[in-house]
C-alpha cells in the first residue's frame, strides 16, 4: 500500500461530556460535527460519506437528522449500532469507505443523551410475574429470570468478568479494583471536558454505595450526555491540503473491529477477553508496532473491574500480569504506559455512541501536543479501545504526523 492510501484523521472534536438538558441529540451531534469540520479546515461539501451512531434511539436515523441540521448534500449515510462500540463502528465505517476509494473524505459521528438513564442492562422495572405461569421466550421461562438466574445489569456482568480474572490469576481484591478507579478519577481532574473532575480518596470510593460487588458507584461508568465526531481522509487527498492541515493530521495506523469467536461459556457470561486480544493482535500487526511502543492508551473502563482485564487483553502486560502491571504504577499518567489519562469512562463519562470517537479524540489531542495540563509529553503513538457487549471490539492505533 502506498502512502497515498494511508488513512488520516483530519479533524476531530468531542463536546463537553455531562448534563446538557437544553440540547437534544441533534444539537450535540451538530456541535461535534461542525467542530470536527472546522478543526480539519473543511465543510460538509467536502464530505463524501457519513457514518452516524446513536444507540438509545437507533431507529431514528440520526445521520439524516444531522444532515437536516447542518448540511444536506445528498451523500450516503450509514446509521450504525453496535452497543458500546457504536462510535468506533461509525469511525471504522467511514474509514472503510475512504479506504475503498469510493470517497476521498468521510465523517463519523456518535452521540448519546444518557443523563439520568440509571442502571443499564436491568431492563428498567422488573417484569411483573403473570397471573399464571406461562412459558415464554427461548428458555420457556414462566417468570422473569433477571435476579433469579444471575443478573442482566452491566455493573454485575462486568464485576463477574473482573472476579473471573482474579480467580484465574489471583491477586485481585476489592481494594485493588477501587485503586484503579482512584487513578481514573485523579486523571480526570486535568480534563475540562470530563463529566466529573472530582478526585476521590480510596476510602471514599470503597465506602460509596455498593452497586455490584466489587464495583461501588464511582467504579461504574458515568451516564452522561455528549457527542464526538471525526473527519477522515486518505494520504493522496491530505497531500493536496495545507501544511498546517498536514501537520495536525493524525495517521490511523490500524483500524480493527472484531466479534467474539465461540468458546465454552461465552454465551453464559460474555467473553470480553478473546475478541479484545484478537483486535489488539491484528492492530499491532497492521500498525507495525508493539504494546511497548504506546505512549498512551484509552481503554474501555466501563467498570473498574473491566479496566484490569484489558491491560492483559491489549497485551500491555504479560499474560496474567495485569495486577502486577497496575501495582507497578505503569497505567498512571506518569507511568510507563499511561492508561485513561482522560479520566476514562468512570470519570470522563460514557455517552455510549460518543465514547468510541471521544477516546480517539483524546489520543489525537496528545499526539498533536494540544492536551494542555494533561499533555503526555512527546506522545507519538497511542491506542484507543472500546468494547460493546454482544460483543464487538474496536481498536484504533494512532500516530503523530511526521510532517
Amino acid at each position: 500500500m502506498s502512502t497515498s492510501d494511508d488513512i488520516w484523521i483530519l479533524g476531530i472534536r468531542m463536546t463537553k461530556f455531562g448534563k446538557h438538558p437544553d440540547r437534544d441529540v441533534v444539537d450535540l451531534a451538530s456541535e461535534a460535527v461542525l467542530g470536527a469540520l472546522a478543526d480539519g479546515g473543511v465543510t460538509m461539501k467536502d464530505i463524501g460519506v457519513i457514518a452516524a451512531g446513536n444507540l438509545m434511539n437507533a431507529t431514528a436515523g440520526i445521520g439524516q437528522q444531522l444532515q437536516k441540521q447542518v448540511g444536506q448534500t445528498g451523500v450516503p449515510v450509514y446509521n450504525v449500532a453496535n452497543a458500546c462500540a457504536t462510535g468506533a463502528t461509525a469511525l471504522r465505517t467511514a474509514i472503510m469507505a475512504v479506504k475503498s476509494g469510493e470517497v476521498d473524505m468521510g465523517l463519523a459521528v456518535g452521540v448519546e443523551k444518557l443523563s439520568g438513564a440509571g442502571l443499564l442492562g436491568g431492563g428498567g422495572v422488573a417484569k411483573a410475574d403473570g397471573d399464571t405461569w406461562e412459558p415464554s421466550g427461548r428458555f420457556g421461562a414462566v417468570a422473569s429470570t433477571d435476579g433469579r438466574i444471575g443478573t442482566n445489569t452491566m455493573p454485575g456482568v462486568f464485576a463477574q468478568i473482573g472476579m473471573e480474572y482474579g480467580h484465574r490469576y489471583g491477586g485481585t481484591t476489592f481494594e485493588l479494583f477501587a485503586r484503579i478507579s482512584e487513578k481514573n478519577h485523579a486523571h480526570s481532574t486535568l480534563n475540562p471536558l470530563a463529566a466529573y473532575q472530582k478526585q476521590f480518596t480510596l476510602e471514599e470510593i470503597m465506602g460509596d454505595m455498593m452497586i455490584s460487588y466489587p464495583n461501588t458507584r464511582p467504579m461504574c461508568s458515568a451516564n452522561c450526555d455528549g457527542a464526538a465526531a471525526a473527519v477522515v481522509t486518505n494520504g493522496a487527498t491530505l497531500a493536496r491540503l495545507s501544511g498546517e492541515q498536514q501537520r495536525r493530521a493524525i495517521k490511523v495506523s490500524a483500524s480493527v473491529l472484531t466479534t467474539d469467536p465461540y468458546e465454552e461459556a461465552c454465551q453464559v457470561l460474555p467473553n470480553v477477553n478473546t475478541l479484545t486480544r484478537n483486535a489488539a493482535r491484528i492492530a499491532y500487526e497492521q500498525a507495525g508496532i508493539g504494546p511497548t511502543d504506546l505512549d498512551l492508551v484509552e481503554l474501555h473502563d466501563c467498570f473498574a473491574t473491566a479496566e484490569l482485564v484489558h491491560y492483559d487483553n491489549l497485551m500491555l502486560c504479560d499474560e496474567g500480569g495485569a495486577v502486577d502491571f497496575f501495582e507497578s504504577g505503569a497505567p498512571w499518567r506518569d507511568g510507563t504506559t499511561p492508561v485513561n489519562v482522560s479520566g476514562g469512562l468512570q470519570s470522563k463519562g460514557h455517552p455510549i455512541s460518543a465514547t468510541g470517537i471521544a477516546n480517539v479524540w483524546e489520543v489525537c489531542h496528545h499526539l498533536r501536543g494540544e492536551a494542555g495540563d494533561r499533555q503526555i509529553e512527546g506522545a507519538r503513538v497511542g491506542l484507543a479501545h472500546v468494547i460493546g457487549l454482544g460483543s464487538a471490539c474496536g481498536v484504533h492505533v494512532l500516530e503523530r504526523s511526521a510532517a
Binding site: R138, T153, Y213, L269
Partner: protein, 149 residues
C-alpha cells in the same frame, strides 16, 4: 410453601427438569463438537453442525466467578449473589443461595451444587420452581427450605 402436597409444579425455565427424580439441568449438545446451549440453535455457534441431543448437565461444580448485586431493577430483591458455575466443563449461570450474600461467605473456587426452591404459586395453584447453587458443604438439601433465608 405449596398449598397442597399434590399441587402442580412447573420449572422456571425449560432447561430445569423437576419431574424425573432429583432435579437437574439439561442442555442441547451439538452432536458434532459437543458445544452446549441452554436454548435452541438452528446451527451450532462453534462448528455449524445442525444436529443436537438433549444432555443432562452435572449438578455439582465450582463457582468460577460471582458478584453480589446490591442494585437491580425495581422489584428484584437485593442483595443476591449472581455467578457462573463450572459444572464439569459446562458453564451455568445462576444465583448462589443458602449462604449469606457477602464476600466472607462466597468465594471463587468454592464447590457448589444445584438446589431448587419455589418462587410462588399462580392463581391455578401451580407452583413455579427455580434453581440456584448452594455451597456443597451445606447440609440442608431438601428442596422446600432452600429459598427461605
Amino acid at each position: 410453601m405449596s398449598q397442597t402436597a399434590t399441587s402442580a409444579r412447573v420449572p422456571l425455565v425449560e432447561y430445569l427438569v423437576i419431574d424425573d427424580g432429583d432435579p437437574y439441568l439439561v442442555a442441547n449438545e451439538c452432536t458434532s463438537c459437543g458445544a452446549r446451549f441452554f436454548d435452541r440453535r438452528n446451527a451450532c455457534a462453534s462448528c455449524s453442525g445442525t444436529e443436537f441431543t438433549r444432555v443432562r448437565v452435572a449438578s455439582e461444580g465450582e463457582l468460577r466467578t460471582f458478584t453480589i448485586v446490591s442494585f437491580a431493577a425495581p422489584g428484584i430483591p437485593v442483595p443476591f449473589v449472581a455467578g457462573v458455575v463450572d459444572c464439569d466443563g459446562t458453564s451455568v449461570r445462576g444465583n448462589v443461595v443458602n449462604t449469606d450474600p457477602d464476600p466472607d461467605h462466597v468465594r471463587v473456587g468454592m464447590p457448589v451444587r444445584l438446589t431448587t426452591f419455589p418462587i410462588g404459586t399462580d392463581r391455578d395453584g401451580t407452583e413455579a420452581i427455580a434453581f440456584g447453587f448452594e455451597p456443597a458443604d451445606h447440609h440442608t438439601s431438601t428442596s422446600t427450605d432452600a429459598g427461605s433465608e
